[in-house]
Point group: C2
Amino acid sequence: MDIVRELRSRLAADAVIAGAEIEERHLRDFLVAAPPGVRPVAVVYPRSTADVAATLAICNAHRVPVVPQGGLTGLAGGATPMAGWVVLSLQRMRAIEEIDRQAATMTVEAGVPLQLVQEAADAADLLFPMDIGARGSCLIGGNVSTNAGGNRVLRYGMTRELVLGLEAVLADGTIVTSLNKMLKNNAGYDIKQLFIGSEGTLGVVTRLVLRLFPKPRSLATALCGLPDYDRALMMLQRARAHLSGALTAFEVMWPRYYFHATEGLSRRAPLPQGHGVYLLIEAMGGDRVEDEPRFARLIEGALEDGIVSDAIIAQSLKDARDLWSVRDAAGEIGRSFGPGATFDVSIPTGELGKFAEVLTERLTARWADADAVFFGHVADANVHISVRTGAKPLPLHDIEEIVYGTVRDWGGSVSAEHGIGLLKKPYLGYSRSPAEIEVMKRLKAALDPRGILNPGKVF
Amino acid sequence: MDIVRELRSRLAADAVIAGAEIEERHLRDFLVAAPPGVRPVAVVYPRSTADVAATLAICNAHRVPVVPQGGLTGLAGGATPMAGWVVLSLQRMRAIEEIDRQAATMTVEAGVPLQLVQEAADAADLLFPMDIGARGSCLIGGNVSTNAGGNRVLRYGMTRELVLGLEAVLADGTIVTSLNKMLKNNAGYDIKQLFIGSEGTLGVVTRLVLRLFPKPRSLATALCGLPDYDRALMMLQRARAHLSGALTAFEVMWPRYYFHATEGLSRRAPLPQGHGVYLLIEAMGGDRVEDEPRFARLIEGALEDGIVSDAIIAQSLKDARDLWSVRDAAGEIGRSFGPGATFDVSIPTGELGKFAEVLTERLTARWADADAVFFGHVADANVHISVRTGAKPLPLHDIEEIVYGTVRDWGGSVSAEHGIGLLKKPYLGYSRSPAEIEVMKRLKAALDPRGILNPGKVF
């Protein structure tokens, strides 16, 4: 039997879409489109784990590749289909099954949008801390499959650390249910780790037990100008020690980024241009009365000791939003900076300052008009970079060679939080040894012997 | 060539011990001895990762099983050898290679005792937070291989969350080096997760990058008496919210435990007998001046609201130690309680009170003289249990069936933090489904196709 007919024989009438009725949006993630003319053989919209299992069993029998899709907000091509593949969209599996206030957990299906997870936690007077710009459209199963990061990793960890339990379907349709709700569970291998961050290549995530936290009761935010990156490192140590577990964000912006995110966009700069680096620092605590003065003392002490040259402490939520708007302008700086190549890499925190210097030198040595802006979650070792060269068209491959080559020289990672997908696959070997990649391949062969799950992604 | 001769031909003269010279201590962990008369064929003491790789390559070629050993403080038989096996003791690999203050990491060999890791972090004005009673003798590689827990999991996570990078040697001698120092790294599968908590069955951990934290500047401790377990749950919610990230311990002791740990041992009880449950609560923060009053307000508010009936707040480090001594008496209560069967299980926090009631009922229904004491890291869902029945000899198997059967009924874990090893292997299926165990077996076959690494452990 033809695979589309077989899928239709097992799933609800509206669950299998084929041919011209396939929506264009399934052909790409946010950055990477399928090659022109490429069409999947079908898009399947399961409503249950059993539907996912039936779909995978059929595709496995037919040896037809499957690409799982969430909100299609990925930035590496992990969800992009190839010709003849089946697209498995989790968007209709959107039940919030349980919130357990005592265990501080939420059990959800993989197709719940991140924002709905956040709102459901909030309604239960709890916090689901993971947050990224795509919150309204990304689905929680996609966040887990890509181990999403974001702005609060410093305090709450990557998505991996927010998953207590997980259900996944293997390539052959086997359902593996591990919906653990307990912080401590050493009963055998922690197999959920396999499915987190493996970009749909080892199994399809169908349900999740997420870890919730108490809602913070205080928020403190400041923007600081510092003489140099070394002072930012000193400030990080102070902030970690003084704010204890309350430090939620430590975002460093290098001066070229700061310029393009303020004056470059014809916006008022909260602090004048000219500082060595800019720091956006945020803390969330449990005590409205004490936390803000404590935060202010940290900033004032750093000013007195010459670690910070100038600072603005937010006096209201509106102030805080205004200070964040400089950091949040990352998606818009292209209007000032011009078209550029963008990167999401990690470098050990202590060496990030020197890395930025050397990379800028290497780029300008190659292209006299090259410019690079740096900004990011420095405490997590994560920096984002935009590079322009003045050359037309943008010599993307040559820029990548220089950026990823420099990352390799520093022992960094070619993907801090966006994943590998298709886009970074040529550079995986810059951050992982042949032995590491060989282990990945052995895992893939063990769990998906016919290679039907998102083949050719990651490695 | 005979395997001992081959090992001797590749390793230093003092690195391979065979025959009568093998020390007795290598025949057992803290709880589980090898069967009488069982002797390993050799004990190998590698000094480097290359030594480990050479040993494994030789054993793999000879199809001789290998058991990795750390400090031999395990409680489940994970490190116990069988007849004809090679013991691989990591105890000579004890270099602390680097402390990176900016990245807040420490790179160590697997054979460094936990206490030396803690002391080295302390000397660098940082904290390695994992702490268990065996700190002086357990080795960090063993802590990682068993994903050790302890008293501070609530705040800092299990050992798994404290490992940023790892080097392991596979069964065939392949060295897989992933010494990542960065909080964010999504370059392919996170393969280090495989080796954490898999009890030496998938690879031998040789080096580690550990995550360090700022040293806390304040310590607050209290012992509280509460009317019932539900009040303890209410107190947990308050403590999480008010103390924000500073809550480090939330240890609940049921009244029978409290009795045996105080009067039963002829020790003064800090609070009188008769409360419904006892709670030891601890917080560590960043501000000496404010943290203690904040903690005191939490306790006082709970007293006013009837959540807590009575409380003692430590006024000195000595006070704090005295309060902890009731909880730390767990190893001694046998002198009052009598010989019993002990358990380390997890149950979702909200249901632990009811679980303790039902389990006690089931035990006393079976044995009129049965008694059970409960105590543990309730916020982590982890409870320790001792059971006596009055019957002689202790009907261990029947007790296990009732305890683990009740754990299964509650969807709990038969091992919260001690691992499976040999001792809990018959009960793995009480907490893991056949599909989950099948995935574990597939991973084992993929990474250790000849099954030489600690075979027969875990499953």
